[in-house]
């Protein structure tokens, strides 16, 4: 992505942002609240149309008008809000917008059996256990729901998987599972973009880190050649770090 610009009314959410991922690489995207991370990946996912700049895929420019366009080009996105329909069963959610059909008298009907079998396969690959395949998604735990959103992304045969805050709502064991999953996707030679607030997770899983601040890309670092302190400095702006180190006793109250 080169020089991406996105405005909402008079607000410039993304200001000429450059962002890239190589095959077989995990790129972390970090930044403070409102830095433009989610906006950037929604542009990449086809959910927003950029006001400027271009998206290059394998060196060729592409335009996405809808999320389906992006999927057709092999980009699967797991949104922070997961985009699940709460009062619908698991398989319906995994295939939402990309239902499998088979023709009966020339009319496409839902192929429920194949979708259910594929769902079972995807969930067991991800080691996600659900009590009842027909259960509504709203009756599942946060980790199970995350697993279903990941299964949906895997179901599209994607070359690039984008995950917005995949670990934010999860328990520790579930976080480990997601990080393992990211590793396995990377080993298949696919690209992964991970947005996270958790610097520890970022350092554990990523190859490179891109930092956004106030809608601008202000740095790309090799994970092996940087430190959490440097990244936090980039995220907050260096002066903010100084304030923090001068008044360490204020940190707990800031957490509220």
């Amino acid at each position: 992505m080169k020089g991406i610009v996105k405005r909402f009314g008079g607000v410039v959410a993304l200001d000429r942002v450059d962002f890239g991922v190589r095959p077989g690489e995990v790129m972390a995207l970090v930044g403070d609240n409102g830095a433009g991370k989610s906006t950037l990946i929604k542009v990449l996912a086809g959910a927003y149309e950029p006001d400027g700049g271009e998206i290059l895929l394998g060196g060729r420019p592409v335009t996405f008008k809808t999320p389906q366009d992006a999927q057709k080009h092999g980009i699967a996105t797991i949104f922070q809000e997961l985009a699940l329909a709460a009062k619908m069963p698991i398989a319906d959610n995994i295939f939402l917008g990309q239902e499998l059909t088979r023709k009966l008298f020339g009319i496409p009907f839902l192929d429920r059996r194949t979708m259910r079998n594929r769902t079972r396969q995807l969930l067991s690959d991800l080691d996600v256990h659900v009590p009842d395949m027909n259960a509504w998604v709203e009756n599942l735990s946060g980790g199970q729901r995350q697993g279903i959103a990941i299964a949906r992304a895997l179901n599209v045969d994607a070359n690039l998987i984008v995950m917005d805050e995949p670990t934010a709502a999860l328990a520790v064991a579930e976080v480990d599972k997601v990080l393992q999953f990211i590793d396995s996707v990377r080993s298949q030679g696919k690209g992964v973009v991970v947005i996270s607030h958790n610097i520890q997770d970022v350092f554990e899983v990523s190859d490179r880190i891109t930092v956004l601040r106030q809608g601008r890309q202000i740095g790309v670092r090799e994970t092996g050649a940087t430190t959490p302190e440097e990244i936090i400095g980039l995220i907050t702006g260096a002066s903010a770090v100084k304030v923090r180190t001068r008044r360490p006793n204020r940190v707990p109250s800031e957490a509220n």
Partner: protein, 320 residues
């Protein structure tokens, strides 16, 4: 979980409705000998067809998170076109096509206002209802269109193999809608929109188009109901379609649809229609003023909505 207990869970509302229907049947039968006669029940059935097919469309619209309070107006305007087409001596099939097309167009218009202009559906359709009713008055004034031919009467009075034609119409409409809802991608998209419109957009569902199609389908079914109405009564009068919207919405909600969208049951709606129509008939037979009909149906609607709201609050509280 055994399949029987799963059935009891998934079909809870339908089972309650069946019990409620049996209860009011027993109540009315004990007060009126005529209630359970074949002739009375057949009459009730023949008069339920219009509401039943509108109820199917209403179920789809409510499941999408919308509502249409103007169906009575759509029915009325379609009926005017049907009446005028009859008066112009057009052949019956053309008359049917005109009626159904007018309904579809008006439904599509409602859908466009809700989906494209993002006007809240209840306000948009309340507005269009007043426009439709105004059209009705402007076109036919205080008079009736009456003395229409009986070329379509077999649709409401005829039998095939001893079974009223209306049964086949209901079966066809509900079968069609059920397949759309449960066996076509369209139905899954509709359901997802009712659950979470933002999520539906993120996964790339053409939200506006699906919504407009749902309203257009409801309009089509209201047009078809207008055909049956004119076929049955052979006139178009000023107060046509007055209570249809309330009854269709009540049947849908009684049948288990969530007024906020995402959940609904076609079978439940059909049972809701049966319940409402038997209730109306029974109240008349035991000598209760028909003015009480509105109290009973409107009251039931409020009670069921309150119970649903309390139940979901309880569940929500517990799951958190």
């Amino acid at each position: 979980m055994t399949s029987l207990s799963r059935f009891a869970r998934d079909a809870q509302r339908e089972l309650i409705l069946v019990l409620a229907i049996l209860m009011i049947c027993a109540l009315f039968a004990s007060q009126s000998e005529f209630f359970l006669t074949e002739r009375n029940l057949t009459t009730v059935l023949r008069r339920s067809v219009d509401l039943a097919i509108i109820g199917a469309g209403m179920t789809l619209v409510i499941m999408s998170g919308g509502i249409d309070v103007s169906v009575g107006g759509i029915l009325a305007v379609s009926a005017i076109f049907i009446g005028r087409a009859f008066e112009a001596d057009l052949p019956a099939p053309i008359v049917v096509i005109i009626g159904v097309s007018v309904g579809t167009l008006l439904g599509l218009m409602n859908g466009a206002i809700c989906a494209k202009a993002k006007v809240p559906p209840i306000i948009a359709t309340l507005g269009s209802m007043y426009v439709f009713i105004a059209v009705l008055y402007l076109v036919i004034g205080g008079t009736w269109i009456s003395g229409l031919p009986d070329t379509l009467s077999f649709l409401t009075r005829g039998d095939v193999a001893g079974i009223p034609v209306g049964v086949f119409i209901i079966a066809a409409v509900y079968g069609f809608c059920w397949i759309l809802l449960h066996r076509q991608p369209w139905g899954r998209h509709l359901c997802a929109i009712g659950n979470d419109e933002g999520a539906a957009r993120l996964v790339g569902i053409p939200v506006d188009r699906v919504k407009m199609q749902a309203y257009a389908l409801l309009g089509l079914l209201a047009g078809l109901a207008a055909v049956l109405y004119v076929a049955r009564l052979r006139n178009v009068e000023v107060n046509i379609g007055t209570n249809v919207a309330l009854e269709a919405i009540a049947a849908t909600i009684l049948g288990g649809a969530n007024i906020r969208g995402g959940v609904g049951s076609l079978i439940g709606t059909l049972l809701g229609v049966v319940f409402i129509k038997l209730m109306q008939n029974g109240l008349v037979l035991i000598g209760v003023s028909s003015l009480w009909e509105g109290v009973v149906i409107g009251g039931l609607l409020v009670v069921v909505l309150s119970i649903d709201a309390l139940q979901s609050r309880y569940r929500y509280g517990r799951s958190l």
